[in-house]
């Protein structure tokens, strides 16, 4: 109950956050919308990477299926937006199921490379399918999201909706992580043989979580497409898959909140460092290397460690304050 209240309060505060920027409210709402989209991506990849321990570089492919699926169905065929989103998510799940059946029994490098290959295939298909997907130039004219008759053409309104979806995804993923299901995934992460011996159907669990994460990535894609209203293959490269994976690791894998933090930091950083544009890639790489080598818990782990110290310091200081 307290948590639900805190969550609701947090949601309202975040929804109103852009208003703090006054006349720049719309601009910041748009930036934060993209942050929320990437938070969904990072949290969903964390289910596969952080919980189940499977390194996937295929997330940009499912992101693309959602974005292009919604874009094509709504602009070319006039589908209702929610139906298009559902169809795209179903398509992404199907792709994930077929590919997952093929590659999830592979471990480590094979899985990483095969999913990297999947992103490569989808990217080349987007460029190649000129008539359907607009080719390298991308496709524009995607309408504002329209649900139940409401057209979300105000950046603040659309941000509130995307943020709500993101918060919902975080809550669901947190539930999953703490459920028996999540603990089974963690067992698979630890040691597949032991998990099998404990009666966990490893293959089934891995494929389920892979498919679920793909559906979430597709939803993120739908929200992304209706936000920018113009999408191009360059948003769905191998680099994008890596970017999403980096968010999860930077924030702290397996923690649900960590990847959200990673998404916020990596998406907001460029906003404050225009001048160092050419050095951004270098600093991302170096920071990630440092995190992996010295703080495997990521930024979230670091934050928790620091927070755990503060109360103790407070307690130590309390008697002094009393007299």
């Amino acid at each position: 109950m307290r948590q639900a209240l805190a969550g609701a309060g947090g949601y309202i505060a975040l929804t109103l956050l852009p208003l703090a920027f006054g006349s720049l409210a719309d601009y910041y709402a748009e930036i934060l919308t993209v942050v929320a989209v990437f938070a969904i991506l990072a949290v969903s990849i964390d289910l596969v990477v952080g919980l189940a321990g499977q390194i996937t570089l295929g997330h940009a492919a499912f992101f693309a299926v959602g974005a292009y699926g919604s874009a094509i169905l709504t602009t070319r065929y006039g589908w209702p937006h929610l139906a298009a989103a559902a169809a795209a998510a179903a398509a992404a799940s199907l792709v994930a199921y077929v590919v997952g059946r093929a590659v999830l029994h592979l471990r480590g490098y094979y899985l990483a490379m095969a999913t990297l290959g999947l992103t490569g295939v989808v990217y080349t298909l987007l460029i190649g399918l000129r008539e359907l997907a607009g080719g390298a130039a991308g496709m524009g004219g995607i309408p504002h999201l329209r649900i139940f008759g409401f057209v979300l053409d105000d950046p603040l309104h659309y941000y509130a909706v995307v943020l709500a979806v993101a918060v919902l995804v975080v809550c669901v993923c947190r539930r999953i992580a703490r459920s028996a299901y999540g603990r089974a995934l963690i067992a698979i992460h630890g040691d597949e043989e032991t998990a099998t011996a404990l009666g966990i159907r490893v293959a089934q669990y891995k494929i389920n979580v892979f498919v679920f994460a793909a559906a979430l990535a597709s939803i993120a894609g739908t929200l992304f497409a209706h936000h920018l209203r113009f999408i191009a293959p360059d948003d769905f490269t191998i680099g994008q898959s890596i970017h999403i994976l980096v968010m999860a690791f930077l924030g702290g894998i397996g923690t649900v909140f960590g990847p959200v933090l990673g998404a916020v930091v990596l998406q907001l950083l460029p906003e404050f460092s225009h001048h160092f544009k050419d050095y951004q890639t270098l600093s991302t790489g170096l920071v990630l290397m440092l995190v992996l080598a010295f703080f495997p818990g990521g930024l979230y782990g670091l934050l928790r460690m620091l927070l755990a110290r503060i109360p103790r310091a407070g307690r130590a200081g309390a008697p002094a304050a009393a007299d």
């Binding site: 990477v49 321990g53 390194i55 590919v99 093929a102 590659v103 592979l106 471990r107 480590g108 490098y109 094979y110 990483a112 490379m113 095969a114 990297l116 290959g117 999947l118 490569g120 295939v121 080349t124 298909l125 460029i127 190649g128 191998i238 680099g239 890596i242 994976l245 980096v246 690791f249 894998i253 050419d278 050095y279 951004q280 890639t281 270098l282 600093s283 991302t284 790489g285 170096l286 990630l288 290397m289 992996l292 080598a293 010295f294 495997p296």
Partner: protein, 298 residues
């Protein structure tokens, strides 16, 4: 049937193109293998070593005006030192962590190296003058440039040298022993740490070598390393993840498949088709064509 077989000269011309890129993928696959053999790590930054090797050669020969015979060893030495630094600074801190952390560390390395190359070489493409000035040779109506012969010759030379190293030298034998049975190798007094360092130094240097020999044939930018790395991995997987000969043959297969796909099917879908073949391949034969290589990687 309406489709006519293309002329032999066209088929040959495409084949030469395929063999050239195949040789490059082959050398890169061998460079991945040098690291993998001892450390069991596949480095996702291998494409960056390839790119930086080519770009460094471009700078040394075109801007600094160094002759080729001096520039190539300088780049090779620099790459070997980089390999040692990576082993020390990036890999050994995470060696005991899970495979996921190790994979991500090499991805982080690849991001950092791309980020390093961007301010140095910018976004534009660079190329190097051909190593020797000679008129192309005509073979059955197809033309072969001297550089193509150099690329393919380098792949063959790499194979011969590694074969000699692994069969004739104590160090090479130790490396095969350590690849086969790390604990047993340590028991008989082989320093696996030392072999790790040699693996990284030679792996990074070989990656740079692939970039250097192909630099006169293709355009290199700071970001063009990813696809060659993935294709080299495909070559290595086809070769069975443990065999030098398998990796080279796998490289030639991937290069030829790619060239014929671009030449006769579609240049846009070439990458998709090469990846599709990999996924099929992993399904049907996850251990590779040259599987069951228990000879410690020759």
């Amino acid at each position: 049937m309406g489709a006519r077989l293309p002329e032999i000269s066209v088929l040959l011309q495409v084949a030469f193109g395929g063999l050239t890129m195949g040789a490059v993928y082959g050398i890169l696959a061998v460079s991945l293998l040098m690291v993998y053999r001892v450390s069991k790590i596949i480095c996702f930054a291998q494409g960056e070593f390839f790119v930086i090797g080519g770009l460094a050669l471009a700078t040394l020969t075109e801007q600094a005006g160094l002759p080729l015979w001096a520039a190539i060893p300088v780049v090779l030495l620099g790459a070997a030192l980089l390999g040692l630094a990576i082993e020390r600074g990036a890999i050994s801190p995470v060696q005991r962590s899970g495979i996921g952390i190790v994979i991500t560390m090499t991805i982080a390395l690849s991001i950092a190296l791309q980020g390093l190359a961007l301010p140095i070489w910018g976004r534009q493409a660079h190329t190097v003058a051909p190593f020797v000035v000679a008129a192309p040779v005509e073979v059955l109506g197809a033309f072969v440039s001297a550089q193509v012969l150099i690329v393919i010759g380098t792949a063959v030379a790499v194979y011969v040298l590694l074969w000699l190293f692994f069969t004739r030298t104590t160090l090479g034998l130790a490396m095969r022993a350590a690849a086969q049975a790390p604990v047993g190798a340590q028991l008989v007094g082989i320093s696996v740490r030392k072999l790790n360092r040699i693996g990284w130094a030679s792996g990074v240097a070989l990656g740079a070598l692939a970039g250097m020999v192909v630099a006169p044939v293709i355009f290199l930018t700071y970001a063009s390393g990813t696809m060659p790395m993935v294709k080299a991995f495909i070559a290595m997987a086809i070769g069975g993840l443990g065999s030098t000969a398998g990796a080279l043959v796998g490289g030639f297969l991937v290069g030829t498949l790619e060239a014929y796909t671009i030449g006769f099917l579609s240049s846009e879908f070439a990458d998709a088709i090469v990846f599709g073949v990999l996924i099929l391949f992993l399904l049907v034969r996850p251990t590779g064509v040259f599987a069951a290589s228990d000879k410690g990687g020759m």
